[in-house]
Amino acid sequence: MSKIVANDVKWRDISPGGIICDAGNAALFKTGDWRSIRPRWIEEKCKQCSLCYPTCPDSSIIMTEEALMRGFDYDHCKGCGVCAKACPFGAIEMEEEA
């Protein structure tokens, strides 16, 4: 990824006018530290129904190619709790950040 958006970029190397010159770089912005509560996946209760996946506003639910739920991307999950509400089987619980 371009160093233009790296946190240690020097002023001579930064993009002119604050433009973002490389599309599709949202993953570089780690939003995980915004979280005050975190989702916990309870694998034994999970039926692999995939209903949680499309509800996450941060694309932070990890799914395999075979559409199997495998947990959370804590670098980007903001802890909004939407997935926990969406899960019909109580397989996601929100708990306080340590």
């Binding site: 958006v5 946190n7 970029v9 020097k10 002023w11 001579r12 930064i14 993009s15 002119p16 006018g17 604050g18 433009i19 973002i20 010159c21 599309a23």
Partner: protein, 391 residues
């Protein structure tokens, strides 16, 4: 091509010759004629420009920003309260590094409401990040407008430019003028080829994102460097323009500064009046000179200090008050440029011509007499003065 035109008409013709992609403007006296003439060129099919008739100046500048960011060459014109209403967007244009060209037809800011000429509008915008070029005559307003496009769009600059000239005095008075041929102007400005632009499907970008403390400072530092680079580019463009036209431009014009003991620094149309006074004084054996500032942003600090190094007293004239209780905006910049470079030269500030108050040769003579008195007595007296106000 010799013509006789008003300043506004000349600038509108420059716009037609450039044939920009987008012009977005809202009418306000005394700049109205620029988009008015230009709209007729659009209606007559003389240009390929998309003309956007917006509902305010804030929208005019916003439309220019969007169009320029998309990759188009964009222009507008305004005055006074119109420029004030653009304020927020002026900063967005400059910090987003969008080289929009603006004909800034100088008019007093309200209040009290006044439609006549002074420089309070563009002086207020002097630190918005725009390049500001001031012109004495219709010819200079036209020439500066064409050069503004090349300066702003230069890859080392990428900043918007204001072509500032006096409302009514320059904008509406008809003068003889030397126009370039359409093809010459088109060749001189060339095509606008930004490295990044929104309409480039092969390389998508985002413009105007939130900039947090980790990046904002670096962006501002880079913006400041662009304004420094503009000094070099302004001179390069002026040299190319001189090759084309024979007309010479720099940061400022030194008029009879050779051996001058007293000098006035002034910008825009009053320089014309002051030149006739200098001529008269020189005939009388008085060593008077004049510096007509052309480029105010970037400010040519070293160059102006060097130009004033030989004088024994200088007056800096401002057609806008600073309301800083210390002197006008040109005065404070010129004197800070002198600090540490030409210390000890007495410098005084005169505020003149506010709200279109006439400035006559007799007024300018009073300033030179005052300077002569300072040289004779060594006493500076009041630094912050007013010229032509009823006492």
């Amino acid at each position: 091509m010799r013509e006789r035109l008003s300043g506004n008409e000349a600038v509108a013709i420059a716009m037609r010759q450039i044939d920009p992609d987008v012009v977005a403007a809202f009418p306000i006296t005394p700049s109205t004629e620029v988009p008015q003439y230009f709209a007729s060129f659009v209606a007559n099919g003389a240009v390929n420009t998309e003309f956007v008739a917006v509902e305010s100046e804030h929208s005019a500048m916003s439309a220019c920003i969007g169009a320029q960011a998309a990759g188009g060459r964009t222009m507008t014109a305004t005055s006074s309260a119109g420029l004030a209403l653009m304020w927020e967007m002026l900063y967005i244009a400059a910090s987003s590094r969008l080289p929009i060209t603006l004909a800034a037809v100088n008019r007093a800011l309200s209040g009290p409401i006044n439609i006549n000429n002074d420089h309070s509008d563009t002086m207020g915008a002097r630190d918005s990040g725009w390049i500001q070029i001031y012109g004495e005559s219709n010819q200079e307003a036209y020439d500066n407008f064409i050069q503004a496009v090349c300066i702003g769009e230069h890859p080392a600059v990428q900043l918007p430019v204001m072509d500032c000239y006096d409302g009514f005095i320059t904008s509406h008075a008809v003068e003889n003028i030397e126009l370039l041929e359409d093809e010459e102007v088109k060749a001189f400005v060339g095509d606008y080829t930004p490295e990044y632009y929104l309409n480039n499907k092969a390389h998508p970008i985002a413009v105007g994102p939130l900039d947090l403390p980790v990046h904002y400072f670096e962006h501002k530092r880079l913006q400041a460097e662009a304004m420094r680079n503009a000094k070099r580019v302004i001179l390069e463009v002026a040299a190319d323009f001189e090759k084309l036209t024979g007309r010479k431009y720099g940061f400022f014009e030194e008029y009879k500064m050779e051996g001058a003991e007293t000098a006035i620094v002034v910008l825009n149309s009053t320089a014309g009046t002051a030149k006739t006074v200098v001529d008269k004084l020189r005939e009388q054996g008085v060593k008077a000179g004049l510096i007509k500032l052309r480029v105010f942003r970037p400010f040519p600090a070293e160059e102006i200090a060097a130009a004033l190094a030989g004088v024994k007293a200088v007056a800096i004239l401002d057609k806008a008050d600073g309301f800083n209780a210390a002197g006008g905006p040109v005065f404070t910049d010129v004197t800070s440029a002198m600090y540490g470079r030409v210390d000890g030269v007495p410098a005084i500030s005169y505020i003149y011509g506010l709200g279109g108050r006439d400035v006559r040769a007799g007024d300018i003579e009073k300033v030179y007499s005052r300077l002569a008195e300072i040289v004779k007595t060594g006493k500076i007296g009041e630094v912050y003065n007013y010229l032509g106000v009823r006492e």
